[in-house]
């Protein structure tokens, strides 16, 4: 299966009596790089979890092209890549073993070659056979990103992808995200690194207390706009 549009309609997600998401609606088209902004605990990771089919919505719907999330199946997961704040890699395995394991798990052809190319992209080929336990946060982050993109997903969901990256790695990630967008992927990036994300996003949405609103990117830096928007919402 494939899709070129993600539509979220009136999505709510409750954990007991607490509402993590409240009637969230969002549409992302192929070739769009969308920023998901908001303070800690706003519901960004929950939204990414639901979009990744790891959590079911309490009410509302998520539609991937023509496929509803309620009928989430193996083929739909093949089209989704999720990088969460926890990096979902095995610290006891080497970088190469991690990538080859996931490549085989995804049923990808040429897992060895794919993993090697991913290691080169992550600039980790010199440390490919070292266990991940000894990697810095930035190195782990680069590895986890490649693990996320190993199967070339149509929908790319990234939670704080710039965490721990040095300046050159951040710039490389920005380029990578642009390439993904230009390649027609749907990219949703939750980030607090507003300076790094400035000028990168096609559009942005702001999540606060589980509610999602469109975020105006025009005028001033992203950080200034963000502060002003949050201040106006607090008033």
């Amino acid at each position: 299966m494939d899709f070129d549009r993600l539509v979220v309609t009136d999505l709510s997600r409750r954990y007991g009596r607490r509402s993590a998401l409240r009637r969230v609606s969002l549409t992302i088209e192929a070739g769009q790089l969308v920023g998901l902004l908001g303070p800690n605990g706003a519901g960004k990771s929950t939204l990414l979890g639901v979009l990744a089919t790891l959590a079911n919505p309490s009410t509302g719907s998520v539609t991937y092209g023509q496929v509803a999330s309620r009928s989430a199946d193996v083929e739909l997961r093949r089209c989704i890549g999720l990088l969460s704040h926890e990096l979902q890699i095995y610290a006891e395995l080497t970088a190469r073993e991690n990538l080859e394991f996931f490549a085989r798990l995804y049923g990808l052809d040429d897992p060895v070659g794919r993993s090697q190319r991913a290691l080169e992209r992550a600039n980790l080929d010199a440390r490919a056979d070292d266990v991940v336990e000894g990697f810095s946060r930035g190195m782990r982050q680069r590895l986890a990103l490649e693990r996320t993109l190993l199967h070339e997903p149509r929908l790319v969901l990234l939670d704080e992808p710039f965490t721990g990256l040095d300046e050159s790695s951040s710039l490389a990630l920005r380029e990578r995200l642009r390439d993904l967008r230009d390649d027609g992927r749907l990219v949703l990036v939750a980030t607090h690194d507003l300076d790094v994300a400035d000028g990168l996003l096609d559009r942005a949405v702001l999540m606060k207390d589980g509610r999602l609103t469109e975020f105006d990117l025009g005028g001033g830096t992203l950080r200034e706009r963000y502060r002003a928007t949050l201040a106006s919402e607090t008033r």
């Binding site: 089919t53 790891l54 193996v74 979902q88 073993e97 996931f102 798990l105």
Partner: protein, 227 residues
């Protein structure tokens, strides 16, 4: 179906590879199993003679306790860095992931059983190895039943704070029939005149429990893992 077993094999091989780096689960499980038998030996062996009929119970208690210890650690690697989500995001039947984890646990418990059987046979002078085929059948079916439920519960409790306490509390009541059948079969096997017909009955009952527990676990793993 081939893909299902391929995924299960991949997950098990990954677990074994990780374990071969640390020997964390193997060493703690084997050490705990050996310690349990040793403690019972001090209580039940007097002047070089073991109390009659104690060996089967001690064998299965040692296996249940060490198995619980192994199950408690089974998903620790998946909890660390939330690697479980990475597995669950893969385009594979999630029950295949469960199967892979189960196979790893069964292998680990099998290693513990080798040690425990030898230790119990030696310290309690129990004729456990008189009918190795029947003993293997009892242990294999008992282990699969115990581990099938335990693997599911360990996965369910992965995100709870007090999983170390909760696992035995919910595991033992459910696996009680497996332990009873295991002890019953072993008692029939080690008595002076082994009742092989009764052993076959207990093995058949264990096979039934295995089938029920495996089907239920495979069926519930997917919804249990979806938040």
């Amino acid at each position: 179906m081939t893909r299902f077993f391929q995924v299960a094999w991949l997950v098990m091989r990954k677990d074994l590879r990780v374990e071969s780096r640390s020997w964390e689960m193997v060493s703690t499980t084997l050490f705990f199993a050996a310690s349990t038998v040793l403690v019972f030996a001090f209580a039940f062996v007097r002047a070089g003679r073991a109390v009659d009929g104690a060996a089967p119970g001690i064998l299965w208690i040692a296996l249940a306790f060490s198995g619980t210890l192994a199950l408690g650690r089974a998903f620790e690697r998946e909890r660390h860095q939330d690697a479980l989500r990475g597995l669950l995001m893969a385009p594979v039947e999630r029950s295949a992931i469960y199967c892979g984890k189960l196979m790893g646990i069964v292998l680990l418990m099998g290693a513990a059983e080798l040690l425990v059987v030898l230790a119990v046979a030696l310290t309690f002078q129990a004729p456990l190895l008189r009918h190795p085929f029947y003993l293997t059948a009892l242990l294999a079916t008992g282990t699969v039943g115990f581990a099938a439920v335990g693997t599911l519960f360990a996965a369910m409790l992965l995100r709870t704070q007090s999983r170390g306490v909760l696992l035995p509390i919910i595991l033992y009541p459910v696996t009680f029939p497996v332990l009873i059948a295991g002890v019953g079969g072993t008692v029939a096997l080690v008595q002076a005149d082994p009742n092989l017909e009764l052993v076959r009955f207990w093995v058949a009952l264990l096979c039934f429990f295995d089938a029920v527990f495996l089907v239920l676990s495979l069926w519930t793993f997917e919804p249990v893992m979806t938040e």
